[in-house]
Symmetry: C2
Subunit: 235 residues, 2 copies
DNA sequence: ACCTGAACACCGTTCAAGT
DNA sequence: ACCTGAACACCGTTCAAGT
């Protein structure tokens, strides 16, 4: 809780930083879910009048955009860049890092996929992905599409996972998370949806990260398959 | 435009249907994007006081949920159930049908992935997917995970595609759609993001459905790979 | 330049009526 | 039972001030 109001005069003081505003927004999002970051709430949290925020950002969309960018900037490029590792492992590292970071702030996820991710940090991630795929020997045309496929998978997974919770607050521990998704399956009449009921039984012991990695590996298998039959027509 | 107001008295008349309310919501969503379906807007569109909507739905979330369910109920199970077709083609049919239907209503997409898809029609789709995978000989444990992977891919693709547009109104034609995504790539400094710039060049001629099907086929390849090495440990 | 008070045009939802 | 008017507690944003 930075500055519970009090020491605010009138004149020019440059009391705030853009980052303090983003901190406030993130805190509200973490506490109350994706709708909780109101301009008025943020303003109150940093100890400023509702319209004081507009000194630092042109509108609410800009605040959200900056916050998303800041979060994407936190991913660890280190492991990802290491060419000593096999390419699949490098992609898995990125995917896991991204998931861990975003899962820590589930309220941000709907905002992230609510708009285009075209900031510099988003582009940097895309660039890294393309690098790894190039190192893996995937030809440029396929690499461009494979990178997008991976982005769809990573953000799609996280988005659906967050959606199945319908908020707010931090994500529950792993074990509970998969149960959430299976509750709908298990609650389903086995006569009408026999496969779904069976699937619920099959998945009973699993954990969400297992599902995430399993899917990612299937995607990587698919990409590798294309690389293997290099140059063949696809359709 | 159903009923531009006028003939409304007081007493019990059961003027409206749930479906008329959903129609109004959908129209607003199509015209103004995912934020445009306000309770007040819907009420005005069906010619009722703002709180009149609450006679038919307990709250706005219920309206959204019902609309999503109705949309998911429209998918054509016919082609999908046909066991004469090879399993990959059956999955592709479902995936394409779903994409066509959702792309027609981009404003609904963020609402769809904004909450859990656990209604009967969503479960029915899941059941169908599992049926196809069972027919394909995928073992039940893998099928359960493969079905979720496919769901992630389909809804993730559509969500990101809609997000890259940031609304409102109907989706532009195919040719323009891929250009939207590439604009960010192309506008990027080639010295800092050489792979990204190269990828933009590679994708220049493509169309969004091509990318969608390419990714789907990689996912199917990945699933098939697992089926092929049946029973081996995955990690 | 920075910040405020006040206002504008919106929200979703509730509640005590009226028919 | 169905629908309304009025109100409540919110929104994002603008604008004319004050320092």
């Amino acid at each position: 809780m930075p500055e519970p109001a009090g020491n605010r005069r009138r004149g020019p003081r440059r009391t705030l930083t853009e980052d303090q505003i983003l901190d406030a927004a993130l805190t509200l999002l973490d506490e109350g879910g994706s709708d909780a970051a109101s301009v008025r709430g943020i303003a109150a949290k940093v100890g400023v009048a509702p319209n004081g925020v507009y000194t630092y950002f042109p509108d609410k969309a800009a605040v959200v955009k900056a916050l998303v960018e800041r979060l994407l900037g936190e991913v660890d490029h280190g492991i990802f860049v290491d060419r000593g590792q096999p390419w699949r492992q490098r992609v898995e590292s990125l995917a896991l890092d991204l998931r861990t970071r975003l899962s820590a702030h589930p309220g941000v996820v709907p905002l992230m996929i609510g708009g285009p991710m075209d900031g510099p940090n988003a582009l940097a991630l895309n660039e890294r992905l393309l690098e790894v795929l190039a190192d893996a020997g995937v030809d440029p045309a396929d690499a461009a599409r494979a990178a997008y496929l991976l982005i769809v998978y990573v953000f799609g997974s996280i988005a659906l996972e967050v959606a199945d919770l319908h908020q707010p607050g931090p994500l529950p521990p792993e074990r509970e998370r998969i149960d959430t998704r299976l509750r709908a399956f298990a609650a389903t009449p086995a006569e009408r949806y026999p496969h779904t009921a069976a699937a619920a039984a099959e998945l009973a012991g699993y954990i969400s990260t297992d599902q995430y990695l399993w899917g990612l590996r299937r995607v990587l298998d698919g990409i590798a398959t294309t690389a293997a039959r290099a140059g063949e027509a696809d359709s």
